[in-house]
């Protein structure tokens, strides 16, 4: 896309506020919409929530004038988050929505891991990927055994239901979760986008699990949400520590807005549901206006040219698709990696602090292991394991995302 990020103005900020009616649009269909459409909905909700979270942090350390600028843009971000999050339909149970969250964590992290130019950071993504991929397996077992549902109906075949690094091993001492950060002055723009994106996705997963955990009556589910929310806390620590702490607040704000814009562009390019595509397109226009607003503020306040920090055009869209082969090969090659300090090491080199931490949290057993004990996915669910339905001979009943190319 030949859009000039230094010049484009977007849709006027003053006109970006919607009515309640327009915020509450028809949800996507759990049955008829493509899984990747729902992946995009969940991802973009996370991106908006991070833009709000960031803006609040910035406001805390700002003067009244800057707080006004932040409040003005943040109000729109909150409406965007509402519009997007409310696209999820009410017939998704919280556990089914959880499956979408872990599909996002799997496929988007896998996509990012493959385009990340910095080898250390790519390793960080693969490391986290194997854990969220495993969460997906544990939650799928829970969904099958508690609600009698097959997670494959949510995943629509894009993502495997297989173990990754066992959740048992995800728990580490906090000292083993903080990573090295990139240097914002030298890093490729895509490196900065990647880190912001995955941090945002993990943060909203954290929020979601912390909110819905107590909605379950089943004590095993309550324990699993407690356990995996704790891993998501580690993941937020892991991913947010990758980000350069030396950038100015305004510079970070610019990076947030351009990343939002980039991801709406990414979603718009790949969306198959025309109604949802129109939302991505509209919000891309919103973000371009935010970017203009903040770029002007940056130039005025910091007396620097925006071109110093902002690329002139977007990188290629982030590919949203099944990453089955990549994920499987990561699992087979790196499942035994563990984290020690900022590095990744073989299992036997884990720190004593992590071993001790793990003994403490697992003192009464590991719920993620318990719920998936002897679990193996079969089409239609575990109860079909003896007698699995055969796969239909006629391939591809519909034109799906997997057939469309970027």
């Amino acid at each position: 896309m030949s859009l000039d990020l230094h010049r484009s103005r977007g849709y006027p900020l003053e006109r970006q506020i919607s009515s309640w009616k327009n915020l509450v649009q028809e949800p996507v269909s759990k049955l008829d919409d493509d899984a990747l459409t729902k992946v995009r909905v969940v991802l973009m909700n996370g991106i908006e929530l991070e833009s709000i979270h960031f803006s609040r942090c910035f406001a805390r350390v700002s003067d009244t004038e800057m707080r006004r600028h932040l409040a003005k843009v943040r109000r729109v971000e909150q409406q965007q988050a509402t519009t997007i999050n409310w696209l999820l339909p009410a017939d998704l149970s919280p556990l089914e929505t959880t499956i979408i969250y872990e599909q996002v964590a799997t496929e988007i992290t896998a996509a990012v891991a493959q385009i990340e130019p910095d080898e250390y950071l790519a390793q960080c993504y693969r490391f986290g990927l194997l854990e969220d991929f495993d969460h997906l397996f544990r939650y799928s077992a829970l969904l099958d055994r508690l609600e009698g549902k097959d997670a494959a109906d949510i995943l629509q075949g894009y993502t495997d239901i297989l173990p990754g690094r066992p959740t048992f091993y995800h728990h580490r001492d906090p000292m083993d979760d903080v990573r090295n950060h990139f240097d914002g002055k030298k890093a490729d723009p895509i490196t900065q986008f990647n880190a912001l994106t995955i941090m945002a996705a993990e943060q909203q997963t954290w929020n979601y699990y912390m909110n819905i955990g107590p909605m379950f009556s089943d004590p095993v589910a309550r324990q699993i949400y407690a356990e995996i929310a704790s891993v998501e806390e580690q993941h937020v620590t892991h991913y947010s520590s990758m980000i350069d702490p030396n950038q100015s607040w305004l510079e970070r704000w610019v990076m947030h807005e351009v990343n939002e814009a980039y991801l709406y562009y990414t979603c718009m390019e790949q969306e198959t549901n025309p109604r949802i595509k129109a939302i991505w397109e509209r919000f891309l226009d919103f973000e371009l206006a935010h970017l203009r607003y903040v770029s002007d503020l940056f130039e005025k306040t910091e007396k620097r040219d925006i071109a110093e920090i902002l690329p002139k055009t977007f990188p290629d869209p982030l590919p949203m698709r099944s990453n089955r082969e990549f994920v499987r090969s990561c699992v087979l090659e790196e499942v035994d990696l563990r984290a020690r300090g900022t590095e990744f090491v073989p299992a036997e080199l884990e720190s004593e602090a992590t071993r001790k931490y793990r003994r403490t949290v697992h003192a009464h057993g590991d719920p993620a292991a318990a719920v998936s004990r002897y679990y193996w996915w079969a089409p239609g669910g575990e109860l079909n394991r003896e007698n699995p339905p055969e796969i239909p001979a006629d391939e591809n009943l519909f034109e799906r995302q997997e057939e469309t190319r970027l």
């Binding site: 009616k21 269909s29 049955l31 549902k149 089943d218 239609g380 006629d394």
Partner: protein
């Protein structure tokens, strides 16, 4: 979990704090009624029913019945003709039963576990029998959908709706705090739905002239009749005696 219902520290109801209740009513004067409505509201008569009606008219549906995995299979089975050109109704409804029986089997697993925990030395074989029948029904419905050329792993719209209806049942039975009678109430609700669901399938297969399938479903329905009676009777005994009593076979 406590086994029986008892009188305790329940704090709901106005009777728990009558003075506060009187004070709350004292405040209900006209001044407050006047401020409830914003003067500038441009839609001063808009009601919640209006908003709901607007959405009912505007929004689409939950979703569709998936296309048959094998159109050829459908032609062979003659199902197209048999169902008056609307095999999707039958597939939707069989899909509903299939999902319900699968979830029902999980519901029984949870219920049996709770019963075994509370009544370790009692005979719960009737529950095990029901469980096995629910699984068998699930498999029977898998076969039925395949015979109609459908995909038994797909979620049909009615299956999806049934899962939403069943959410509360799953929550009640899996709560460690609900007693056997409270859990049995949820199981009874499931059996009631189950029963009517099988009647519907018999009616649909009857009309489509799918005699073999109808007979299979009739047999399943007879099992469901037994489930309903057994659960209903046990629940009555549990409630009437207000303690955990063993189930008597009838």
């Amino acid at each position: 979990m406590k086994e029986s219902v008892y009188i305790g520290q329940n704090k709901t109801g106005l009777g728990v704090a009558p003075r506060f209740a009187r004070e709350m009513l004292d405040n209900q004067d006209d001044e407050f009624k006047l401020i409830a409505q914003a003067e500038d509201d441009p839609f001063p008569t808009l009601t919640h029913e209006d908003i709901k009606q607007e959405y009912i008219r505007e929004w689409g549906d939950i979703g569709s019945v998936p296309p048959p995995a094998s159109l050829k299979g459908m032609a062979v089975s003659g199902i197209q003709k048999l169902t008056g050109g609307h095999p999707e109704v039958l597939i939707d409804k069989i899909g509903e039963r299939l999902a319900f029986e699968r979830s029902g089997a999980r519901l029984y697993e949870a219920f049996i576990l709770k019963c075994e925990t509370v009544l370790p030395d009692s005979s719960l074989s009737f529950l095990h029998d029901i469980y096995i029948e629910e699984v068998r029904h699930f498999q029977l419905l898998n076969e039925a959908i395949k015979r109609l050329g459908g995909d038994p792993t797909a979620v049909t719209p009615c299956a999806d709706v049934a899962a939403v209806i069943g959410k509360g049942l799953v929550a009640v039975v899996n709560d460690p705090r609900t007693n056997i009678a409270q859990s049995a109430h949820a199981v009874l609700a499931a059996e009631l739905l189950d029963n009517d669901g099988w009647d519907m399938l018999i009616r649909l297969t009857d009309e489509a002239g799918l005699q073999d399938m109808r007979d299979d479903f009739q047999e399943a329905k007879e099992a469901e009749d037994r489930h309903l009676k057994e659960v209903r009777n046990w629940l009555t005994e549990l409630v009437v005696s207000n303690k955990v009593v063993r189930h008597q076979r009838h």
